[in-house]
Symmetry: C2
Subunit: 332 residues, 2 copies
Amino acid sequence: MIKGARLPLAATRGLNTVEVNELIEGVLERRPRAVARAISHVETRGAGRRQLIGKLYPRTGRARIVGVTGPPGAGKSTLTDRLARLLRGAGETVGILAVDPTSPFTGGAILGDRIRMQTLYTDPGVFIRSMATRGAMGGLAPATHDAIDILDAAGFDWILLETVGVGQDEVDVVRSVPTVVLVTLPGLGDDIQAIKAGIMEIADVFVVNKADRDGVERAQLDLEMMVALADDPPWRPKVLKTVAIRGEGVEELLGEIETHQKWLEESGEIGNRRRRQLRLRVENVLKEKILERADATVGLDKEIDRAVQNGTDPYSVADGLYEGVIGAEREG
Amino acid sequence: MIKGARLPLAATRGLNTVEVNELIEGVLERRPRAVARAISHVETRGAGRRQLIGKLYPRTGRARIVGVTGPPGAGKSTLTDRLARLLRGAGETVGILAVDPTSPFTGGAILGDRIRMQTLYTDPGVFIRSMATRGAMGGLAPATHDAIDILDAAGFDWILLETVGVGQDEVDVVRSVPTVVLVTLPGLGDDIQAIKAGIMEIADVFVVNKADRDGVERAQLDLEMMVALADDPPWRPKVLKTVAIRGEGVEELLGEIETHQKWLEESGEIGNRRRRQLRLRVENVLKEKILERADATVGLDKEIDRAVQNGTDPYSVADGLYEGVIGAEREG
């Protein structure tokens, strides 16, 4: 039983090389505590993360990764849990990452929600983890991608990434996974329709959940018309109906996910997605690196204080920090 | 009448120094086309943005800046428009930035929505602009902060920043403005409550909008209890009720915003917020800079293609790019 309990930050900050190697060994053997600890380490952007992911990366690429996204209230958690149960029934192991970036202070709201799904929690073939990090330097995307690598290297057959489909970082994270399921529900107002439109283009499968409610035909039709508008797309998303709470339609959804994953491989589109994902990750790591160096060599807080006093514009402050880093690297 | 029409990207990319100076002059004279063009330039992260903001920055700091945030469907646009009308009635000029980061493809969904609010559109004392940029290199936050500077330097008395309160970048943007109004509505489900919790800590004023609906007392009570839990906070947010569509409660809201802004100055808390905002901006500019340099000196696409072929992990790719930049700066 793995509850994805989070260790205190301090406990993961200072891993030495021996500890990192032990962690890697533990992850590769899929030991729950090691997996949890490794994720905590990348979540807190611990100093050993580079080594950790560097060593695990060659062991990744086997898991099937699915993003489940959509507006608040669409029933993403329930649907994700139902997918996980179905996969477990077929003997597959499942890692679930619930990305909850909007709760920096209450971190774990989604996880709390999940306590209801008791069956999954007592199943050793399932690992559930809520990601809620907003480190000063790090970010949501790098930590989530690293956590996916950890679960992949640990040998989970499937990784389900659940995220609220709103916000730039969140869209970036979910769009870099192979198959994206966009969950919506009947009767959303105009405001939510607008939000949906933004992530429309990244959806590989549409789901109208809560399909026992009024307005489901309309919601389905709206989506189907939108999908039909695309002019000869390489992949045309289906629009499925589910009642996740009762498990209805979940088997069809899994079937469609598998069809999409087969298409990705056969069409070669998987290569494009890998490139996009790697580019996003590299950009994020590079950003982390320059900020860490700037903080270590010049000191961010000190520079900010000075700039506020002098009324220096942000571009000039950044230039100064950049020059400071270059200067230090030159000497070093 | 300024409709915030967006110029084609190419038109703003290649501004020379003379053109940037003309733009600065136009912004300082609050010429609508110049303001619109300057915002387009920072939105597309054009090459002249550094110079543009560097020159405008000393002219900023006069506008009163208010963030209006909350979950989809809460009625943020309507409330923002009502606030703007009220301010106009008092002879104040108003700039509105509607941050719509989730619609990279349909950009302008919120703006489209606003077409309903005809009165504001024909008023030369109001500038409305939808921000929907997701540049490869840039990001939402830097563009939005630069746009705020432009409106501030242009002499708008008030700047209203409207954003969906979900997502890391979006929270970062809104939390760096002086006064944050969190708009919610009666009868939200658990899922939305969880999201609300994440931005709870950054709210300076709570609004239960659509207060003519069932459940308003309950929603207000919930928020008031949450606010009461805080142990001797420097500022305890009020919980107000509005029916924005009919303008009810908007005057009280504006009064409370003004009270909060007075408190910021008197308590010195405004200094903390300025530091926090500048730090966020400097970090973002520094990130942009390293990515631009890496792309110019090593070439991001080329490196990514090679890394995908070789199965190189993202940390090693980023290290290589970083070393490439350092090497180039050393020679240059």
